[in-house]
């Protein structure tokens, strides 16, 4: 007589364990093997039901993520650590120094930068003003026509070719 194999099969329809001696074992003409736990699973298969649409099967539960499979999977997810590497412009030491700057220090830096910018702007304005004054003086001294501010030349708008848009 044949030796009873203790290998537990899974039902091809429901996904439950089939212990030896239970159910049926079918080999189709194309060579595909099917294990059925009971006639319920067998009949469902031959009625061409899709186990993914039959709510008590393992395939359905897996597809619709029922039960605790999802939680377990989430718990096991690992965070990937990004390694800090030196960049082309900065060596490792400089990089770490920049990284470890205190927020107060950074704020002070920002304020300094703002002050600088303002001063620059002021200087620029003062320069412009001085230039204007100088020009004005010259204009008054040298007469009307000479160093006039370049008048804005406004071209008369040409008639639009092609008609009105």
């Amino acid at each position: 007589q044949s030796i009873s194999s203790m290998k537990l099969e899974l039902c091809s329809f429901s996904g439950f364990k089939v212990y030896p001696g239970r159910g049926r074992w079918l080999i189709r003409t194309d060579g595909k093997t099917f294990h059925f736990l009971n006639s319920k699973c067998e009949r469902s298969h031959f009625q061409k039901k899709n186990p993914r649409e039959v709510s008590w099967t393992v395939l359905y539960r897996r597809k619709h993520k029922k039960g605790q499979v999802e939680e377990a999977a989430k718990k096991k997810s690992r965070k990937s650590h990004k390694a800090i590497r030196a960049v082309a412009g900065l060596s490792m030491a400089d990089l770490m120094a920049k990284r470890n700057q205190k927020p107060e220090f950074r704020k002070a830096q920002r304020e300094q930068a703002v002050r600088n910018a303002k001063e620059k702007a002021k200087a620029k304005e003062a320069e412009k003003k001085a230039q204007k004054q100088a020009e004005a003086k010259q204009a008054r001294a040298g007469g009307a026509g000479q160093k006039q501010k370049a008048a804005k030349v406004v071209k008369p708008s040409a008639p639009r070719v092609g008609g009105k848009r």
Partner: protein
């Protein structure tokens, strides 16, 4: 006439209706016996020709003083006008709890000495055949040409 038609056409409100789907009430007739057509699953020339021609072998006789053949039994078949021996390697009838059932009745052709005609068996062969329980036939050579055991 009108009254008679009305009675025939009437469907009672309660109780059974006329069954439109006629369901067979006999069990599946899947024994292998005389006149049963089998499917040749080896690559023998004769078997291939017969299956391609649409003339599968028919069982003529079941060896072993029995009327029904199952997996592991030797039969005599009529194939393309010849008489040949064959060995059943798969049956539609469910055998037992730990044995597979197949979707077709599979046959391997043998010559008169009991050696397989082909040199390969293309269908899966049940592994319980390895325990030879047929005293009249030594089919170790047959199992040797099997490609897949189940």
């Amino acid at each position: 006439l009108g009254a008679a038609l009305r009675i025939q056409a009437a469907v009672p409100a309660t109780g059974c209706c006329v069954c439109r789907n006629w369901i067979s009430t006999t069990p599946r007739l899947d024994y292998i016996q005389r006149r049963t057509r089998l499917r040749v699953v080896d690559n023998s020339e004769l078997g291939r020709r017969a299956m391609e021609a649409g003339k599968p072998p028919r069982v003529m006789h079941v060896y072993g003083k029995k009327l029904k053949a199952a997996t592991g039994d030797m039969v005599m078949v009529a194939i393309l006008g010849q008489k040949r021996r064959g060995f059943i390697v798969g049956a539609r009838r469910p055998e037992g709890p730990l044995r597979p059932q197949f979707d077709s009745n599979n046959l391997v052709l043998l010559n008169d000495e009991g050696q397989p005609l082909g040199n390969r068996i293309l269908a899966p062969v049940p592994s319980f055949l390895r325990a030879n329980r047929n005293p009249k036939l030594d089919y170790t050579k047959l199992l040797a040409i099997a490609t897949k055991f189940v």
